[in-house]
Structure formats: C-alpha cells, structure tokens
C-alpha cells in the first residue's frame, strides 16, 4: 500500500516552503527517523525525518522547487503491509482532506465565510443582597476584614492565609491580627519575601483543593507575581475546558498611601479588571469590606481584593449578623440624586460623597454609586442612574489611560448613549508616576474640587473646567 509523504508544516505560521535538497532517492529503503529532505522556510532550513518506513517509489517534487504548499504530496513510499498498515491507514484517512489542499489552508480559505463571532453572554445571575435594618456595630475596615477571614476560617478547614508578616507580626497593617493565635501556624503562614513564589504556591494549593487567601503587603508587590495571577490562576479554568478552577483570593492594600512615591502608590484595578477569568473587588465601607471578602473567599474563582491603606482605620456601621455577605458584581447607590451620577470605588467613594454634599449646597443633586466590584462591572446600576440623571462623572485614583472610567464611559455609550445630555467626564489620578513631594503628590491625586469642576462642566454650570 502506497504511503504519501507530504510537504510538512514546520512552524505555526508556515504555509509553503522550498524543497532545497533530497537526502534519499528512488529505490532507497528508509526507516523511521531517517532524514528525507531539507526544507527551507522563511525562518530556517530544516531536515525532515521519516515517520513511515518503506521503499521510496516516487519522488514527485524536484530539488530546488519553491513555494510548495504545505500538505502537497512530495514523494511516495511502498508501505510494508505487515508492520506498517496502521500508518498507511492513517494516511488513507487523511487522503480526502489532503487531496486538494492541506487542512490548514482550507481553514484559512473558509474563514471569510465563517459566521459572526457569537455574542458574549449576559453576566450570570448575581445573588440578592440582604437589605439590613437590624442592629449594627461600629467597626474599622481593618477589623471587618479580619473578622471576615476569621469567620470563613472557622467555617471551612480548607481556608488558610499566607503572606509576608501575616502571622507572628500580626500583619504589616495589622489586618490579620489575632488570626495566628486562633488558627495556629498551620493556617496562618508567614512567608519569606518571595511574592512570585508564594503566589504560585498559592495557585498550586488552590488546584489541590484548598482555599488560599494570599496577602500582598501591598498590591505594588503583586507585579512580581502577576504571571501567576494571570497565566496560572485566571486562565486555567478556560485552558482546562472547565475541568479545573482556581479558588483563591489575592488581597492587600492598593492605591496611593501617603508620601511613599511612585513604586508604592498605584491603583491596580484596571490592570486586573482587564483580564477575563478574574473577579476584581474594591470596597469602601467596612460593611462591604466584610461582606465582600467573605463572598470572595467562598467564590470558586480567583478574586483580586483591593483594599486601601488609608481606609483601614476608618470606622463604619457593620450589620451585627453572624454571616454577613455582600454579593460580588453588585454596585451600591450610596447617595441618591437626580442631576448627575458620580461613580467611585474604594477611597474615592468618600471624596465623591464629600463632593455631593458640596454640590447639594449649590443646588445640584448628585447620585453617588459605589462600584464595589470592578469586574464583573454592575453596568445595570450605572445605566439605571444615568437614565435618571442624564449626566455622568467617573472617578478613580488610577491613571486615566485605559482606566476603569474609560471602560464605564464606553459601557454607557453602548447602553444608554441617548440618555446623556453631556459628554461623560472623568476625574482620575494624573498621568504621571506618583511624586514624593507633598504638594506634587496632592496635585497627582484626584481631589474633591476636581470632582466639583467635572460635575459643573458636565452640567454646563459656571466653574466647569
């Protein structure tokens, strides 16, 4: 039975090549692994080895021929029927597809007629948030985060927390205070200063069916570990066809602290929100910090949990409930208004509320939305508000270029462009590395006054920028 030897593809992009030299001739007996020919691609000259065994009966393409399409028959072997019928069968199986053009080329040619890319499905159902009107406790964001971890660790043996100074030092910012005493060093683990390593180790532990909480001393240091966050944690569910997810929480302070300059003052919300496969959460109040962290720990997906150092010491009322959770993916209207919508997350919610208060004095009724989750973004809550107010100002501490505000502006164009009475305004961190000097740092960060100016501009009032 004849075996066809076809022009092989030697790289992911090769569609044709030159046969520069035959290393066998008609009548030669060849064995698997013998060199057959030299083929030149645009990148290199490569030797082609025989897979099948037999005697060369025909050489169909002369040496020096250019532009031979991948998949065209270049020689034939007489198969040894006794031992080689399997390979021959395999070759025969492919003869239909390859008789005219190689499979790879057929696909390329077929592409223009391919149906349109299917639309992305609507975001999955999000759990309802409990509307709490029961008793509350005054608590700092720091305590709320600690309680969230402690409650989940009591509830689920698989949950552990790992990071630099989380155990004996009680947390670089004291967020893990008391956890070592209650849960022992088996579950509260001090790591060496080794972000890339312990982020990867956490991913492996999550694959091994544990529920790691990985603390970065600050998210600035997560840059050392971003390969594991994106390539190992976020993409594995997809790459495994849904077989293996990565239930892990990466948490820590994010954004500008105070006077620590460029390498320690940056918001990573848009960085992580860019990538499919991650959820990104960034709460403002202590109640949301607690409820969202508990939801994040229970979530079967990798969650980036962005806290803020400046917020740790601020106190809020937190529901006095033994299992207070807040659903991921749901924004919250923290102040109702009718004239303009202001979106914010994390520390910017406080500044937006301050701005709303000042605007009220000026007769402008601002609605403030705390995004709480950056991805999946609660577009519904924002659009509902914009349909009412017809004006939108987006705020964030991060850089303006390709930021969260840019994305919100685009979403609003897609969902309710006709409801806008003015272009969307944004108030962001300036497009510069964070300076150290006190006056420059203040200039670089978005201030309440800038929100006021942006609202004035969006509402066509005096004093707009």
């Amino acid at each position: 039975m004849a075996i066809e030897i076809k022009m092989p593809a030697l790289s992911p992009t090769m569609t044709e090549g030159r046969l520069s030299r035959w290393l066998v001739k008609q009548g030669d007996e060849i064995k698997s692994g013998d060199l057959l020919a030299e083929i030149e691609t645009d990148k290199a000259t490569m030797e082609v080895e025989a897979v099948d065994e037999g005697v060369v009966t025909e050489i169909l393409v002369a040496e020096g021929t250019d532009n031979i399409a991948v998949g065209s028959v270049i020689a034939r072997l007489s198969g040894d029927d006794d031992t080689e019928n399997n390979t021959a069968d395999a070759a025969a199986d492919n003869s239909d597809a390859s008789s005219e053009a190689p499979a790879a080329l057929q696909v390329a040619e077929a592409a223009p007629q391919a149906p349109a890319v299917p639309a992305a499905p609507v975001v999955a159902q999000i759990a309802e948030e409990l509307d709490w009107d029961g008793p509350t406790k005054t608590m700092t964001v720091r305590e709320a985060l600690r309680d969230a971890m402690a409650e989940e660790m009591r509830d689920d043996e698989r949950v552990f927390v790992m990071g630099e100074e989380v155990a004996e030092y009680q947390g670089a910012y004291k967020v893990t205070q008391g956890l070592l005493d209650e849960f022992s060093d088996k579950r509260v683990i001090d790591t060496p200063i080794t972000e890339h390593g312990f982020a990867g180790l956490g991913v492996g532990a999550a694959f091994g069916e544990l529920r790691p909480i990985i603390e970065f001393m600050t998210f600035n240091f997560s840059m050392q570990a971003i390969d594991h966050i994106i390539n190992s944690a976020a993409k594995t569910l997809y790459m495994s066809g849904g077989q293996m997810g990565c239930p892990i929480v990466f948490r820590g302070p994010n954004g500008a602290a105070s006077r620590v300059a460029a390498q320690h003052s940056q918001c990573y919300a848009s960085w992580y929100a860019h990538c499919p496969g991650l959820k990104v959460v960034s709460p403002w109040s202590a109640a949301d910090a607690k409820g969202l962290l508990k939801s994040a720990i229970r979530d079967p997906n990798p969650v980036i949990f962005l806290e803020n150092e400046v917020m740790y010491g601020q106190s809020f009322e937190v529901p006095d409930h033994d299992d207070w959770t807040v659903p991921i993916g749901k924004a919250k209207v923290v102040r109702e208004g009718t004239d303009v919508t202001i979106t914010a997350f994390s520390i910017m919610v406080g500044r937006a509320l301050e701005a709303a208060e000042a605007l009220a004095q000026q007769g402008i009724s601002a609605e403030v939305i705390d995004l709480r989750t950056i991805r999946p973004l609660d577009v519904e809550t924002i659009t509902a508000s914009v349909r009412k107010t017809n004006h939108l100002v987006c705020t964030e501490e991060g850089f303006p270029f390709a930021g969260v505000s840019s994305e919100i502006a685009m979403q609003i164009m897609e969902h309710c462009f006709d409801y806008l009475d003015a272009p969307v305004e944004r108030v962001t961190g300036k497009d510069v590395p964070m300076p150290y000097a006190e006056n420059l740092e203040k200039l670089a960060l978005p201030q309440v006054d800038e929100i006021l100016q942006a609202v004035h501009k969006a509402c066509y009032r005096e004093g707009g920028r």
Binding site: A9, M46, G197, F198, Y238, S240, G241
Partner: protein
C-alpha cells in the same frame, strides 16, 4: 542522605558531556512483567509523539508542539514507582507525562488537533491539558511556572495529611528562573513533599546547558537550601525507577523536598519549528544508537528471555492505540462556537 555522584566541574563552552558522569543506580532487575510494562509505556509515548509530529507536518496540529522523543525513560520510570494519588505537574513538553499518568491517548491527541473530544475541549492545546482524575495538574506554558505550583500541590498534600507527594518536572532551561529558588526555599523551609525532577536534556531551546548554567551540577542547585539532590542516568529507565524510590521515600517520610537531575536527551528540536542547528547530527545519532531508552530495555527484555514475537505484538498493540487516538483526534468535531464564552468563570451555584 541519599547517595550521590561525585561532582564534575562543567566547563563552559564545551559540548555537553552527556551521561558521562551520570550515576546508574540499579537494584535487582524487576520482574519481567514490570519490564514489559515499562517497555510498553515508553513505546506508547514514542509512537504517540512520532504521530503528533506527523500530524503537525500535515497541518492538523497547530501552534507549538514540543515532543518528548528520547526522554521517555524519565517520566515512565518515575511514574512507575509513584503511588495512586501522587500529583504531577510539568512544563509544556507534556504529552509523555500525560500518557504516563494514565490519561487517554485519544483525549490528548484530540486536544492537539484542537477538537471537542480533547481533554480541554480544544481550548488548551498541546501545552495546556489537565486531569484532576489522574492527578495531572498541567501542562504549563510559562517556563518554571509549574515549579511553585508543584510546591503548592505538595503544600496541599501536607495540609490535608494525605501522605502523597508531588512530582514537579522542569527542564534544564527552567532551572535558571528565579521562582525555582523562591520555591526551593519555601519547600525546604516547610518540609514540603515535592520532588523537583530536573529533566536535563542538555539544551534550553538552542542554548546548551553549559552556556546557560553556572556553577555546580544541576542536582546541587538545592544545596544552599539543604535539599538533597541526585544525578541519574535518565536514559536508563531502571536507574530512574531506583532513584525515584529513594526520593519518594524521602518525601513521604516527612523529610522535605528532593531534587533528581535526570540526564536525558531530546532527539527532536525544541519545538516543531526548531531546526536544531546548535548541535551536530553525530551527537544526536550517537545518543540514539548508544543510549536509546527503549532499545536498551528491549535488549534487556530479550536477555531476560522474552520472546521477540511477544515484543512485536506489543509494538502492534501500541500502534493500534495510537492509530485509534489519531482517528478519534481527526474525526472529533471542532468545538462548538458557543464554547468561546464558556469556562471563563465558574458560575456560582
């Protein structure tokens, strides 16, 4: 501490001294049926990879495709002494590891061809396949990323107290990545049950190990962390088995990590698109003719009195499996277009 070979100063700028100093550990020759099973498993990988190379040439497999031909003894030898439940993680040269872990050839081949019947429904490809059922945790495309992941799996074994060990395979190229040493440190600090299996096939893509790695032999790279290491003739499946038993015993008894440097050789290029001009044809031929792991074991089987016809029959069976896998991989449909948007997030129940 386990026996280890005398160190050899590797001189830079010289061709690799393949196997010259590799220690061959041989216990008593195992039973014939064990030998036959090792032979079968190595042959399956060899034939599978040859077929994968052929399908690549036909345009049926796209992208990157890193073949394991020549290195079969490493994974087959080690997995033959592993326990049910021990976990495995490796790099992108992973087809052999999947087969040695007991994953179906058809599912692996269908993933290579990007079909619905593949282990990842055609969404992962050659470098990204997983099987929780067979304790195979990938298939990782970023050089050395699997090393801390392996330590994390070992952390989970220890945390759960299940007595199992992780085998984290990495290449001689990966040993120069920083995260390997971050991992060595944590694994030693916390006595994690993980074997770092360095498959030293002498070349990280086109750069020979002597041009890339300073200092001591790779098996000694854990020395500063107190991790014992052993250099092994990775072309000799029985030596690999014996070394694996020592390392597994070490990890299982709670003594922490272990490093096995397997001196091995890949016959093919780094990936399908590598012309492998950085080494001579003679070098490849001499490895093939004098050290081929399958030929060596075949000779032993014949010496042990196994009938040549029986081996030929085995060969035939393996070919049938590969042919069946190929038929499946070429007939399984492309993934449905709706699959584009599935498996991005686990939906909350």
């Amino acid at each position: 501490m386990a026996p280890k070979t005398a160190k050899t100063a590797q001189k830079r700028g010289r061709p690799p001294k393949a196997l010259k100093n590799a220690k061959t550990l041989k216990n008593d020759v195992p039973e014939t049926d064990v030998l036959t099973s090792l032979y079968h498993d190595m042959l399956l990988i060899r034939r599978f990879e040859e077929k994968a190379g052929q399908l690549y040439g036909m345009g049926e497999i796209g992208g990157f495709c890193h073949l394991y031909i020549g290195q079969e003894a490493v994974v087959v030898g080690l997995q033959s002494v592993a326990e049910e439940g021990d976990s495995v993680v490796t790099s992108y040269r992973d087809h052999g590891h999947m087969l040695a872990c007991g994953m179906e050839a058809a599912g692996v081949m269908a993933e290579l061809t990007g079909r619905e019947g593949g282990y990842s429904k055609g969404k992962g490809g050659s470098m990204h396949m997983f099987s929780r059922e067979k304790n195979f945790y990938g298939g990782h495309g970023i050089v050395a990323a699997q090393v801390p992941i392996g330590a994390g799996l070992a952390f989970a074994h220890k945390y759960k107290g299940d007595g199992k060990v992780n085998m984290a395979y990495l290449g001689d190229g990966a040993v120069n990545q920083g995260q390997v040493y971050e991992t060595f440190n944590m694994a030693a600090l916390w006595d994690l049950p993980v074997i770092f299996v360095i498959e030293n096939n002498q070349y990280g893509m086109g750069t020979s190990v002597n041009r890339a790695a300073a200092g001591l032999d790779l098996c000694d790279r854990g020395k500063g962390y107190g991790i014992p290491g052993m250099q092994v003739d990775g072309m000799d499946v029985l030596a690999v088995r014996a070394a694996g038993e020592i390392a597994l015993e070490h990890c299982r008894s709670g003594k922490g990590p272990y490093i096995l440097e397997m001196k091995t050789y890949r016959y093919r290029g780094h990936s399908m698109s590598d012309p492998a001009k950085y080494r001579t044809r003679e070098e490849v031929d001499s490895m093939r003719k004098q050290h081929d792991p399958i030929d060596q074991l075949k000779e032993m089987l014949l010496r042990e009195g196994v009938d040549e016809a029986a081996l030929k029959e085995l060969d035939k069976q393996v070919k049938q499996v590969v042919t069946g896998a190929t038929d499946f991989a070429l007939s399984s449909p492309l993934p449905h277009e709706d699959e584009l948007y599935t498996d991005i997030l686990v939906e909350n129940a």
